[in-house]
């Protein structure tokens, strides 16, 4: 367990410094295409329906029919009950199916129920499981409980990718974020993820930086790479480009692929597409230039 403390002022200043880079023209175009390939296109609402999942999957495979050179997104992220449908629709496309499981977003059920949830999602064909960490136990210092849960869920995943959502908006301090990240990594997380998107603040640049630095320390100590997924609140293409700069300058080029870095987002993709349209046509775009969903 780490005894270091995070320098809040320095982290926030460093995170802010990534936002001053000017990324234009061809580098912007390349960056936007890379962002698209890293998006976990997400719908996690009570009102989700088969029709919504269908249109989401369509958009995931072909983000914009008018821009055929734009790659498909990395994954579609849905609730477990929609995994089977998404699996069927995305078959052969290369787009992964990610499912939130373990009583998302609160995680407030017992472990046995979480395991049922996770196994059901895996059974239905999920490639990736996004679990929520037990924040109640973490904040009351029961690290063993948190760790045991993650280990059990990792086992239930049966080899499928596990992303552990820390819900940094509830963790209060950067020190807690470091501790939670280390704990999740030690317990078998393949990815660590900032937020459910249901709690404010969700992903921020400083909190993502703290997690990236933890991944870096782990890599330097063990040689093992861990993935990172900021989620929630990243809705503008410009912000996403700033995140890419941060990843490059913290972890290096090796992490600049959908294998190691993802954006959990729903509206980000459309802003990226609008920016690409702008680069193509030279004209400012309108909301009706891209499809909803």
């Amino acid at each position: 367990m780490s005894i270091r403390t995070v320098d809040k002022v320095a982290v926030e200043a460093r995170a802010a410094s990534f936002q001053t880079r000017s990324i234009k023209n061809e580098s912007k175009r390349q960056g936007l295409l890379m962002v698209t390939s890293m998006v976990d296109l997400t719908t996690l609402e009570g009102k989700d329906s088969a029709a919504k999942v269908r249109s989401l999957c369509q958009k995931a495979m072909l983000p914009d029919a008018a821009l055929p050179h734009v790659p498909s997104v990395a994954a579609v992220c849905v609730y477990p009950r929609w995994v089977e449908l998404a699996r069927e629709l995305l078959a052969g496309s290369g787009v992964k199916v990610a499912s939130v499981a373990s009583a998302f977003p609160s995680g407030q059920v017992d472990l046995a129920t979480k395991l049922v949830d996770v196994r059901a999602a895996v059974q239905a064909g999920a490639d990736e499981i996004d679990m929520v960490m037990h924040r109640g136990a973490f904040l009351s210092g029961q690290y063993e409980v948190v760790s045991a849960e993650i280990r059990a869920i990792k086992e239930a995943c049966g080899g499928q990718h596990l992303k552990v959502i820390l819900e940094t908006g509830e963790l209060e301090t950067y020190d807690n974020v470091v501790r939670a990240s280390e704990l999740a990594i030690a317990a078998g997380a393949d990815f660590i993820k900032t937020s459910t998107g249901k709690v404010q603040p969700a992903a921020t640049m400083p909190v993502t930086l703290v997690m990236l630095e933890t991944i870096r320390s782990h890599f330097l100590a063990t040689g093992q790479m861990i993935g990172m997924k900021p989620a929630g609140g990243i809705s503008r293409a410009k912000d996403a480009l700033h995140y890419l700069v941060m990843v490059k300058e913290t972890l290096g080029d090796a992490w600049l692929s959908a294998k190691w870095f993802r954006f959990g987002a729903s509206s980000l993709l459309n802003d990226v597409l609008l920016q690409l349209h702008r680069l193509e046509s030279g004209q400012y775009t309108a909301y009706y230039d891209v499809t909803e969903s």
Partner: protein, 293 residues
């Protein structure tokens, strides 16, 4: 006892976008000289990115403004007249020092601008009766036509009559529930810069009126090509400027209205206060409602 004369505090003129007074993102300024060629002030030299930001503000304000009751729009336009009346002296002084014609001409222009706002304040909850209709149809239908707001309208104000021209083009547009992005008089930009203070204190919701100062050659083509702009209203344009507006607008079929109004015609109340000046900035919706079946 102080022997030195007090130094006057000079006003920094800025843009008016989304209810706030930002400086231009370009950091550029334009010098304003009085009729004798003496430097009077500097105003912002707005850029295409300022225009882009203003359109974003106008678009997000559009649904809310159109949804307000017509009566409430009446109240707000009248409030603008009240606030302009309160600033009449300042406007008269600024206009008299920059526009040939002196004090008497300036006072007349300010008075006419106030009256114009009052006239369109009156029309806000009445033009619907004039432009709309209860249509006679030879079938069992109740058939009626209503005038609805167009959306975001860009306005190119004339160079002469810098205040009256601005108000004459702006009032019909916002009266109908549209939001406006206005490029003020290029030759005499001070009235535009000060008019933001009228809007800011008259309960005009943020984003409904956005005021830019700058140069036409830089902004007209961007305005005309912007796909998220629904209409353009201009006056005092050269043939070349008119062509730029119409060519750019053809791309997304935005409606372009270029008025030819000169000198005394700005003061012609019968023509300038007519509700038909609102007509280019509304969409007519006809509804067929079954009746008597």
């Amino acid at each position: 006892m102080s022997t030195s004369a007090r130094l006057g505090v000079l006003k920094t003129y800025k843009l008016f976008v989304n209810g706030a007074f930002p400086r231009t993102e370009s950091g550029r300024t334009l010098a304003v000289v009085d009729t004798k060629g003496k430097l009077l002030a500097h105003v912002c030299h707005g850029s295409r990115k300022d225009l882009r930001n203003a359109v974003v503000a106008a678009r997000s304000a559009a649904p809310g403004w159109a949804k307000r009751s017509a009566y409430n729009r009446t109240q707000i336009l009248y409030r603008m007249a009240e606030m302009l009346e309160g600033k009449a002296e300042e406007f008269t002084r600024v206009l008299a020092s920059t526009v040939p014609g002196g004090n008497r001409r300036a006072a007349k222009e300010v008075a006419a601008a106030i009256d114009r706002l009052v006239a369109f304040a009156g029309w806000a909850d009445k033009f619907g009766q004039v432009l709309g209709n209860n249509n006679q149809v030879a079938a069992p239908f109740y058939n009626f036509t209503v005038a609805e707001a167009l959306g975001v309208v860009c306005i190119v104000a004339p160079s002469e009559e810098p205040l009256l021209g601005l108000v004459s083009l702006l009032a019909p547009v916002i009266c109908a529930g549209n939001t406006a992005v206005l490029l003020g008089s290029e030759a005499h930009p001070l009235a535009t810069a000060i008019f933001g203070e009228v809007c800011a204190t008259a309960d005009v919701p943020a984003g409904v009126v956005n005021l830019l100062t700058g140069k036409r050659p830089e902004l007209l083509a961007v305005m005309a090509g912007h796909r998220d702009v629904d209409g353009i209203s201009a006056a005092g344009c050269s043939k070349a400027e008119r062509t730029i507006l119409e060519l750019g607008a053809a791309e997304n079929l935005k409606r372009v209205t270029v008025e030819k109004i000169n000198g005394p015609a700005w003061y012609h109340e019968t023509k300038m206060h007519a509700p038909y000046r609102i007509q280019p900035f509304v969409e007519m919706k006809t509804i067929w409602h079954p009746s008597g079946v």
